[in-house]
């Protein structure tokens, strides 16, 4: 068998799985996304048991397993909880490297969510810095209707 391999190159077959998807957002996420798109507002959902304001909003609280009740408007400003400066990018990313991902805690929300930072120097970024959402010009009802977050200079 070893002799066989010394004279041949194994065949490599190139292929791709291309299955189109249409994910239903459901009523809760639909409200959140349409509010981003049409009003430029960010909404979280309140859990009656743990009183967290969940952002992104969920129909039921993952911690308590009960239905969330009230919609709570959340600020478009908040703080960076953690971040990473991406230096080697992939084609999937919304910005070209170098750029930063961050877990962001918006004022009024109890849970953080992940988004991207821009208009900021890499060495400026630190935990606790205040940032503000910059909405995209053309919005389509997606998380990237917020184009990125940028520092708030007080």
């Amino acid at each position: 068998m070893e002799d066989f391999w010394s004279n041949v190159q194994p065949i490599v077959y190139e292929g791709r799985i291309k299955v189109p998807y249409s994910w239903q957002a459901g009523e809760t996420a639909s409200y959140f996304l349409t509010q981003l798109r049409d009003q430029g507002k960010i909404w979280g959902k309140h859990c009656p048991r743990c009183t967290k304001v969940l952002l992104p909003p969920r129909k039921s609280c993952p911690f308590c397993f009960v239905d969330t009740d009230k919609w709570v408007e959340v600020s478009d400003e908040g703080v960076v909880e953690t971040f990473t400066l991406v230096r080697e990018g992939t084609p999937l990313q919304p910005l070209k490297a170098p750029f930063a991902y961050a877990v962001i805690l918006l004022d009024g929300a109890s849970t953080g969510f992940v988004h991207v930072l821009s208009e900021v120097e890499p060495d400026e970024i630190k935990e606790g810095m205040r940032i503000k959402a910059v909405f995209a010009e053309k919005r389509k009802g997606s998380l990237l209707d917020i184009a990125y977050f940028k520092p708030v200079h007080s």
Partner: protein, 386 residues
């Protein structure tokens, strides 16, 4: 020795071709909440979550992790199984072993699928070997058509015989508030419906659905405290054989069903399943399976399936009703479908099946089908096993 295990609660969504109002996690949550309510338990009573679907139908990786928001698995042991169409039954078998092992006392098992979110055929085709057969496999329907052709050729059954199966199940589905397709059809309706792949027509085939099913498995230590009539797991048997579709040579018989059912009957001490089983929920993705696979499981001799159908043996009120829920031709959220069969048998044993209740059910059998012509089987009983 292991513990004895029973289903003590079930919950299902109302299955639809498309549920726009909820995303996948919310669909899962609906079923989970209903199962817990049925068992009169809270999520805190649950020791762990077992969940499954067919990945490429929703395009989400590590679904055990992703589904936590809806499944209640937060800070609990959570695990995923997937075996194609047999997933739902595979999940039930896993629920059984995990509780019987003593590792869990009460386990929540969830099967779900949101088939509307993808191109079902496109996704199924990815199950084939990319080098050997992917270029020429055209999806599940044509595969099943091959089986129907082989069976017709060998035993002389006709599309009319197959249509009688669809007519039965669609009539049964009218009694099931959870079923997706709830409207009776006639033999002529089936024979005149659009052709898919000869001899299959549209009304021979199952639909694709958005739906979820959740089942609570409990050990003997608590089952009887939780519900008055637990549906005890009596035995399980399965065969997942063959690597490629082209390995399957004999198509007029479902070999995995022949072998799995032999093992199941032997474990149960059953010699004449037609007489000794009270109800079957058969994972029957298309009408012909309702003729072929009942022969393969030993209800009658090869070629005699049509006779059982025409004699009404498998209708509600017959000697051995099959698919009182309406089965898979009425509802098919693939990852849930096999688990729905188990939930329906549990409801039959518990006497909670409402308008679709078969009288005096002591022993019921649920099956799963999928993958490369695979079969999973579970038997449930009213009487606690020895």
């Amino acid at each position: 020795m292991g513990k004895r295990v029973a289903i003590v609660g079930t919950g299902q969504t109302h299955h639809r071709s498309i549920r726009r109002d909820v995303n996948g996690q919310e669909l899962i949550h609906e079923a989970a909440v209903r199962a817990l309510k049925d068992a009169e338990l809270t999520i805190d009573d649950i020791g762990g979550v077992v969940i499954g679907n067919m990945d490429h139908f929703e395009g989400i990786n590590y679904v055990d992790c992703w589904s936590i928001d809806g499944s209640g698995g937060y800070l609990k042991p959570t695990i995923k199984l997937t075996t194609g169409g047999t997933t739902g039954a595979t999940l039930a078998v896993a629920g059984y072993h995990m509780v019987a092992s003593g590792m869990f006392e009460k386990l929540l098992v969830i099967g779900w699928e949101k088939n509307s979110e993808s191109d079902t055929t496109g996704a199924i085709i990815t199950c084939t070997d990319p080098i050997i057969e992917r270029q020429f496999v055209a999806g599940a329907i044509s595969g099943l058509a091959l089986e129907a052709q082989a069976y017709m050729h060998r035993y002389g059954a006709t599309p009319r015989d197959a249509a009688r199966v669809s007519v039965r199940d669609r009539r049964h589905a009218c009694n099931n508030p959870h079923a997706q397709l709830r409207g009776e059809i006639t033999i002529e309706d089936v024979l005149n419906s659009p052709r898919l792949a000869d001899p299959l027509r549209l009304l021979d085939m199952c639909p694709r659905s958005d739906g979820a099913c959740a089942v609570v498995f409990a050990s003997e230590d608590v089952a009887e405290k939780i519900c008055p009539t637990p549906a005890w797991v009596l035995a399980t048997a399965n065969r997942h054989m063959f690597s490629d579709y082209t390995d399957v040579v004999e198509m007029s018989s479902l070999l995995s069903m022949v072998e799995a059912s032999k093992e199941l009957w032997q474990k149960l001490g059953i010699r004449e399943p037609l007489k000794e089983v009270d109800v079957i929920e058969l994972y029957q993705p298309y009408s012909w399976a309702g003729l072929i696979w009942i022969e393969d499981m030993g209800l009658c001799k090869k070629g005699e399936g049509p006779k059982l159908l025409w004699d009404g043996v498998t209708d509600m009120g017959g000697e051995l009703p099959i698919n009182p829920s309406g089965g898979v031709v009425a509802t098919n959220p693939i990852g849930a479908t096999g688990l729905i069969r188990c939930a329906e048998i549990a409801l039959q044993i518990q006497g909670k099946a409402g308008a679709r209740q078969v009288s005096d059910v002591k022993l019921g059998v649920a099956t799963g089908f999928g993958g490369n012509w695979w079969t999973d089987m579970l038997a449930f009983g009213k009487k606690k096993p020895n």
